[in-house]
Symmetry: C2
Subunit: 129 residues, 2 copies
């Protein structure tokens, strides 16, 4: 693999990555990459992130089976933001069971849920996930 163009130094080791559905163009989620997650994502063509809460690599789908196949990888003009265009296995990216993490719209000061969950998180991740 060639030299990684991403500027991890500037952003204290973590770079935001936007995850977009390759067919609908919907934004599914936003996560973070460290250098290791970037390298594993590229090597395996899967969505692999760095979990800030768990402070370790997060191979999306390792619990739920809902992994992500990378169709396209794009890097922004400043080398400090990444776009993954993916095929989302299972159809839902959000741990709440929604297709997209952005299932709520801000309308006149209120958050309105505009999309229904596709699965019950307790059935996928187990109780008290």
């Amino acid at each position: 693999m060639s030299e990684c163009p991403l500027d991890f130094e500037k952003t204290k080791g973590l770079i935001p990555v936007i995850v977009q559905d390759f067919e609908s163009k919907e934004i599914l989620m936003q996560a973070y990459l460290n250098k290791e997650a970037w390298e594993e994502s590229i090597r395996t063509s899967r969505g692999v992130y760095f979990s800030r809460s768990r402070q370790k690599l997060w191979r999306k789908g390792e619990s739920s089976g809902n992994y992500q196949i990378l169709k396209e990888v794009r890097i922004d003009c400043d080398n400090d933001s990444v776009l993954f265009v993916v095929e989302q296995i299972g159809g839902a990216a959000c741990h709440t069971g929604h297709k997209s993490c952005y299932y709520r719209r801000w309308e006149d000061g209120i958050l309105v849920e505009t999309d229904k969950a596709l699965f019950n998180p307790e059935e996928v991740y187990g109780p008290g996930h």
Copy 2:
């Protein structure tokens, strides 16, 4: 305006915001919001961000005229990421003159420019911008 649901504390004051074109669904850019930028964006229905390099509010389009009209605002499941769906005046969001900041694709270890610039930055921002 109601209470802001965003958790600025968790992210040291800055929350990533994804900016998506309302027609093509293309990702135009990714920026950051502090509380002030969020409030001004919502109040004015314009893309207003916090510039990390200049450490102040950045009213997108104030130099170039290429401002952004907010069509839809979405918040993610964790209240720490925002999606602005916008109409991009002038057609180009990137300071390089490209429609999208993600005009380069990562292909087998090489960054390939897949989109052409729509304007010459020196004509819009002046020489040595």
